[in-house]
Symmetry: C2
Subunit: 357 residues, 2 copies
């Protein structure tokens, strides 16, 4: 597969759905990648099985609060600076870029960089969705080191970071991203192709394109078709009646309330947000939570509503669908389950939560 | 000169005076360096003229809020980790360590590290005093690049930082130091011996030892002798009647009021603090300010009172003395004059301020 102006909009739609409201506004990544492929030509999407075992894969993306990334872009040089540092640190060339997270803008930004660098992207990513924190990555679960992480901003400030593990990669990079104006670009968890084959969530670029196609071509009820395709659940059709949001500590945090309409009249759903939609509750009962995916779809345009674009009065459908199985392992739940975000309840897969309704 | 258990206490006394209340509590640096010379032998103090032109000088020290450094020490491995990174980045050996700032604990910590590494320290430093911010260095004035800066903590987290200039070195390192628990170790502005000869404040290690000797051996009125030696001024003899202090943004900030006693009865002096004593006012008139040095001396023990140890009821003398001429250049005043700290008044040398009284 090649990514060009024909299928990038589909990729963007799919990344938005997998972004669960976060990962940065896909519109920004779409504009960046459209411009890059127009200038440099299409980007090849390669399967990890097609690349040499010892080739170096560079996961990368943006870091910061999505509320800020709407207004503050990179300048395009970040990708080549990251590659230059990564190649120098590893003493070998990068054979392909990979989205650190497929969700949101971060599913597209590496495509824009890859176009400029003449490199392919791999059909895989580090999360299979978007998560707010750096260490919430399949590579972390697989034991790949995040070191040396490289971080840069649009001015050219650059850091090489070696942390002793745990949450330090997140703590250090978030603190610096805040100083950079809540927006930075980074690469971490670089690895060989051989490692990447078992340490990433595979097939997610083509999945995102398929999701985008499905939404674009659905003749009626795209939400219903999406739910079927993702083996998910339609949590509510309703109207946004309350949004509370603040940008703090480099994150966009908040909550939103959706009141049911039509067949859902009389019901309501509350979403809790930290860059991404983390938890959905109905009548104080959790109906879906991280690491499963919760996505808000605009009822009219069938587009995903990112957490920073939620507005009073929007008509939306909220859907939830199962995460990649890697996130349901004990280590996965530790890293990205409800307790990892400070919630005092255990993760229950969305299928089981829905079976009880 | 060699630094050993005989003269390290003098060095500590002198560093305290030059620390103007900041740079970390010299007691901590003294304990570290005494233990290090006991274990590894004395440390040679060398003049920059004795070293080869192309030798690599490594400025280094601690970074953070002094209020925290009283309770949170390094683990001793920081110096060797900094050297290892600096040598790898430069591709050549470090020939000597240098205090990034002679003031406070930071005048002693590099001595402790040098003992462990079997290296000399140079008879110079980057400030001739202590300043709260990283870029307030003679090397910055001389146009030496702070890159690559290396920063580490007691856990082993390590960063290599390349900034685009201005205040970025300070902003990035401060943000990370806060994340590390308001305490970190760093090296920046590494340079050749040839550069260091004109880009540092020279002779400050031996000056600090002389100041310490003078205080220790003064038979009466050590404050008076100190003022003579430093060509300074005795601003007030009095009692601390108010202290306000908070640790915020990686700094200890606050103010203290000293009420005159004896011949100074009826007068009072207000000190404004950001890690260091920045400004002294009497009846709302500035009587001394950065970059000149303002030091609080305990009237009984003749020891310097660091800003984090100021206490209600202490009997003190406050002295002020001229900074190194480098800080009185336009670039020096830009970097470390009152306006660099947000004050809305121009720098006037302490001699001129005193001439008006």
């Amino acid at each position: 597969m090649r990514l060009d102006s024909g299928n990038l909009p589909d990729l963007a739609r799919g990344c938005a759905v997998l972004g669960t409201g976060g990962g940065g506004d896909p519109e920004i990544g779409l504009l960046m990648s459209l411009q890059a492929v127009e200038e440099h030509g299409p980007v090849a999407v390669v399967d990890l099985d097609e690349l040499p075992d010892d080739g170096l894969v560079m996961p990368c993306g943006g870091l910061g609060a999505p509320t800020v990334s709407i207004e503050k872009f990179g300048n395009g040089a970040e990708g080549s600076r990251l590659r230059e540092y990564v190649e120098r640190l590893w003493g070998k060339p990068v054979v392909a870029l990979m989205s650190s997270e497929i969700g949101g803008s971060n599913g597209l930004v590496p495509v824009a960089w890859a176009a400029g660098l003449g490199l392919p992207v791999v059909d895989a990513d580090g999360m299979g969705r978007a998560f707010p924190e750096m260490q919430q990555a399949a590579m972390e679960i697989a034991g790949v080191s995040p070191n040396p992480a490289v971080m840069t901003d649009e001015r050219g400030n650059t850091l090489v970071i070696e942390t002793v593990g745990g949450r330090w990669i997140e703590r250090v990079m978030r603190a610096v991203a805040v100083e950079f104006g809540a927006r930075a670009s980074s690469s971490e968890y670089q690895m060989t192709v051989a490692q990447a084959r078992t340490a990433t969530v595979r097939g997610t670029v083509s999945l995102a394109v398929r999701i985008g196609e499905l939404i674009r071509t659905a003749s009626d009820d795209p939400v219903g078709q999406l739910v079927t395709q993702l083996r998910g659940y339609r949590l509510i059709d309703g109207k946004v009646v309350d949004v509370e949001r603040r940008t703090t500590g480099g994150f966009a945090r908040g909550r939103a309330t959706i009141e049911g309409v039509g067949g859902d009249a009389g019901r309501s759903l509350e979403l809790e947000i930290q860059n991404e939609n983390l938890v959905a509750r109905s009548s104080d009962r959790v109906v879906a939570s991280v690491p499963d995916l919760i996505t808000v779809i605009d009822a009219h345009a069938a587009t995903t509503v990112t957490t920073e674009r939620l507005r009073y009065g929007q008509r939306v459908s909220v859907i939830a669908f199962p995460c990649d199985p890697i996130w349901r392992t004990p280590r996965g739940v530790d890293l990205a389950g409800p307790r990892a975000f400070g919630y005092d309840f255990d993760y229950v897969p969305v299928e089981e939560l829905r079976a009880g309704t």
